[in-house]
């Protein structure tokens, strides 16, 4: 009879640490552990010595000191006397802002381009192929700089809107495209506006309730209730009625030229536009490829089977192909969102005050706290990445094919 394990020759010999599979794993891990400790000790020791030589210590006290610099665009109150921590928070919010805006537009662009690339229309599919290849194969930094140059060089200065026969006019009298940014009307909430907002939120809930009811009716009785038009009606009609009954409580603050610049409205700075747009078109090209791959991954047999059951093409797409394609599309889509968020750190190249530019740029340079700043910066991005991958794992588990 043969034995699988090494025969026990009695007693323990030192050579078994290397030759015996039972002990070898422990040996290797102990060696790895010692090496790890040695490396960390070496680096830490160097760090301590270097900090002592430079007369520095490791502390986050500088976060409470006044930052002393201005940022172009802040979502929360901020001036140059605010603390460095406030500047970092401004940066974090700006990063999240551009990331969310970018993800939404990139998804829209990507889905449209991905579906059109599969179109049977030769010109349209070629055009989309050109778009995808052009944006995928050129660094996003170059796109950001090109679009920033368009924003600042091609668009007119606020001056051009002045006079009786101005060189430039506002789009629909509401939107001003200038080289300092785009000015859009801001909503003004007067008394009673909360009722309108509340009714609108209630309509959203009612719309989903109606769709759920239509689905239930379909599954119970086989009757198909119309959904598209009733949904729109439920969504907008009550809110509009209340809006006019209450005498238009929500107004618009339209930007107007005052002095050398526009006042009123909301200003979206040129750096934000450039970054947002460039990240959207760049990531959109990648998403288009993911969407295309996802739709192509659904086998032809599914479409044919649905057609054999007598379904119409649009219903085949909505009920058979897309639900299956989603399972393939969503994971790479979420990793594209992650990439977009990380690429938003290129804001520093166009002077958009994201967290890399405030905490990792100006604060770092002014205080000289390189290690603390970079560490904090990395922890922030790491937290976002881990949060997004947690969402992705949860989604993957929920749509996983249930095997029994």
């Amino acid at each position: 009879m043969s034995t699988i394990t090494d025969p026990d020759r009695g007693g323990f010999r030192v050579s078994q640490l290397l030759s015996d599979t039972r002990y070898r794993a422990i040996t290797f891990q102990v060696i790895a552990f010692l090496l790890l400790v040695a490396v960390f000790y070496y680096l830490g020791n160097n760090l301590v010595q270097n900090l002592r030589a430079a007369g520095l210590n490791f502390s986050y006290g500088f976060l409470d000191e006044a930052a002393g610099y201005d940022v172009g665009q802040a979502l929360i109150p901020y001036d140059s006397q605010s603390s460095n921590w406030q500047a970092a928070k401004v940066g974090i919010l700006n990063t999240l802002l551009v990331a969310v805006l970018g993800c939404v537009t990139a998804t829209i662009l990507g889905v449209v381009a991905g579906v059109l690339r599969l179109s049977k229309n030769w010109i349209v599919s070629r055009l989309m192929a050109v778009y995808v290849e052009a944006f995928r194969n050129v660094p996003v930094l170059i796109w950001i700089l090109i679009i920033y140059a368009i924003m600042t060089v091609v668009l007119p200065a606020p001056n051009a809107f002045r006079g009786d026969t101005p060189d430039s006019t506002m789009l629909m009298g509401m939107f001003a495209f200038t080289n300092r940014g785009i000015y859009i009307p801001a909503p003004v909430f007067n008394a009673g506006s909360m009722i309108v907002v509340g009714v609108f939120i209630a309509s959203i809930i009612a719309m989903f309730a109606y769709r759920a009811y239509a689905k239930k009716v379909l599954f119970d009785t086989g009757k198909l209730l119309p959904t598209a038009l009733p949904s729109l009606a439920i969504l907008f009609v009550p809110a509009l009625l209340i809006f006019f009954i209450l005498g238009r409580p929500i107004g618009l603050d339209i930007p107007v030229l005052s002095g050398f610049n526009f006042g009123g409205g909301i200003k979206i700075g040129a750096p934000l536009i450039a970054l947002w747009f460039a990240l959207s078109v760049y990531t959109g090209a990648f998403i288009a490829e993911n969407v295309r791959a996802g739709i192509q991954a659904v086998s032809e047999g599914q479409t044919e089977a649905a057609a054999a059951l007598g379904m119409r093409p649009r219903r085949i797409m909505n009920l058979v192909v897309l639900p299956q394609a989603m399972r393939v599309i969503i994971p790479p889509l979420i990793s594209q969102y992650l990439n977009l968020t990380k690429n938003s750190s290129l804001a520093i190249a166009v002077g958009y005050a994201d967290v890399t530019a405030t905490l990792g740029g100006i604060t770092l340079n002014q205080t000289g706290r390189a290690i603390e700043c970079v560490l904090l910066l990395m922890l922030f991005y790491l937290a976002i990445s881990l949060a997004i991958s947690a969402v992705m794992n949860a989604y993957n588990n929920s749509v996983k094919l249930k095997e029994r």
Binding site: Q29, L43, L47, N50, L51, N137, V138, P139, I146, I384
Partner: protein
């Protein structure tokens, strides 16, 4: 049974009628246009919209391209030539091509050196890319890093020779001992190479020649597209072995080693490359022994290599996971130990599956090398944003410069991705 006989009927056709041509609307260009462009009303609308978009783009770009000025010393001279018409000022490219390609401090009489290295790159990379070329050509690939280093940096020839010698001695020691035990061969190889480099370092220190054959060019003089290529090629080739090690470590069943690799990979993949470049620029120096000065380019190479290796490790892990379990079990049942099974059975197959993914990572990494301009290195983008756009002659020439940069990157990246697709078709045999 049929009663009809050939003799009893008046006429029997014994040749086929030549096929009639299809109706005009069902053939040739017209059919193609109707089927592909105007099959439905929605389709026709899309076609017209697409043609309109193409028309708009052409109208905007065509005069700009054809009116381009190729000889003018500055933007203002360019505008004089154009006299208010729309036109590109391509003379910035003819005037500053050397800065765009080589950076602004690389000695101009030495441009032939990076030029030759660039041409040799194709010879070195060909045997790696095309499996049908004779395997002996891989010797060129192995020699290339030393030749290219010597050509680009110059200085004493002893440095690359001793580096090469170390690798040769290390490989000989490895080849001699690997038959018995992989670990012994591996560590003996490293020890032998380190010994050669240590002795060689002393020799170079003692007898560096006074006047080297090739003038020494310090790293800070590297710039332009050359810097992008140096960073891209170096970091990709260094990160592949590191990525393999990390992927194997992540698959390992030793908890500590697996833990180290997982933490490293997830950490690197979770942070943007810019933060790692900040580390290279301002933080790394704190972790080195006091008094050591370190080339910025070397620090950047270290950080980008770490960055790329984490991504490549994930691609290779995908390849390892895609292999059927039977391959691992077959290796075990043949009595191979872990290094043998990995080297002879698992890795060759897993790497083959991962090649397209690795190529994608390489393209992404090459594009990401432009990020070094943020830490004030003068790569192609850094040259454009820094010295050229800031100069009095060319202040304001955005489109020509950015289109040139975009074009260079597009050519390289599109070429590599086309290669990757071709390779996928080549490798598609036998799987699925």
């Amino acid at each position: 049974m049929s009663d009809t006989h050939a003799e009893s009927v008046a006429f029997v056709r014994d040749t086929a009628i030549p096929p009639a041509p299809p109706p005009n609307a069902q053939a040739g260009a017209i059919k193609w246009v109707r089927a592909n462009l105007f099959s439905t009303w929605a389709n026709a609308g899309l076609t017209i919209a697409a043609i309109y978009v193409i028309y708009l783009i052409l109208v905007a770009i065509w005069p700009w391209l054809t009116n381009g000025v190729w000889t003018a010393p500055s933007l203002s001279a360019c505008r004089e030539v154009l006299q208010g018409e729309v036109g590109a000022c391509f003379s910035v490219l003819t005037e500053r091509w050397n800065q765009l390609l080589f950076g602004f401090t690389y000695p101009s009489d030495q441009y032939w050196r990076p030029g030759i290295s660039f041409l040799l790159l194709f010879a070195a990379i060909a045997p790696v890319m095309f499996f049908k070329l004779p395997r002996k050509l891989l010797i060129i690939t192995a020699l290339y890093p030393f030749v290219a280093y010597y050509l680009i940096w110059g200085g004493t020839i002893l440095t690359p020779i001793i580096a090469l010698l170390g690798f040769v001695v290390g490989y000989l020691a490895y080849a001699r001992l690997v038959k018995g035990n992989f670990a012994a061969g591996f560590f003996a190889g490293i020890a032998a190479a380190a010994l050669v480099w240590w002795i060689g370092g002393m020799i170079v220190g003692v007898m560096g020649p006074e006047a080297p054959w090739l003038e020494e060019v310090p790293s800070r003089d590297m710039g332009g597209f050359m810097l992008n290529l140096i960073l891209g090629v170096t970091c990709v080739s260094l990160s592949i072995p590191l990525g393999i090690v990390l992927a194997l470590g992540r698959q390992s069943n030793l908890p500590l080693i697996k833990g180290i690799c997982v933490v490293f990979i997830e950490f690197i993949r979770g942070v943007p490359l810019i933060t790692l470049l900040f580390v290279a620029n301002v933080v790394l120096a704190y972790f080195l022994p006091p008094g050591t000065t370190f080339d910025l380019i070397l620090r950047v190479i270290i950080m980008i290599t770490m960055f790329a290796s984490a991504y490549i490790a994930e691609v290779i892990r995908g390849g390892l996971a895609a292999l059927p379990k039977g391959q691992y079990e077959a290796g075990d049942s043949l009595g191979l130990d872990y290094p043998q099974a990995m080297r002879l059975i698992i890795l060759p197959q897993a790497l083959k599956i991962s090649i397209p993914g690795i190529v994608n990572i390489a393209v992404g990494l090459f594009k990401d090398t432009t990020l070094v301009s943020v830490i004030s290195m003068f790569d192609l983008v850094g040259m454009i944003r820094g010295p050229i756009l800031a100069s009095t002659e060319w202040n304001g020439v955005y489109w020509e410069l950015f289109s040139f940069a975009a074009l260079l990157f597009f050519i390289v990246c599109y070429g590599i991705s086309q290669y990757s697709q071709w390779l996928e078709r080549q490798l598609a045999t036998g799987h699925r």
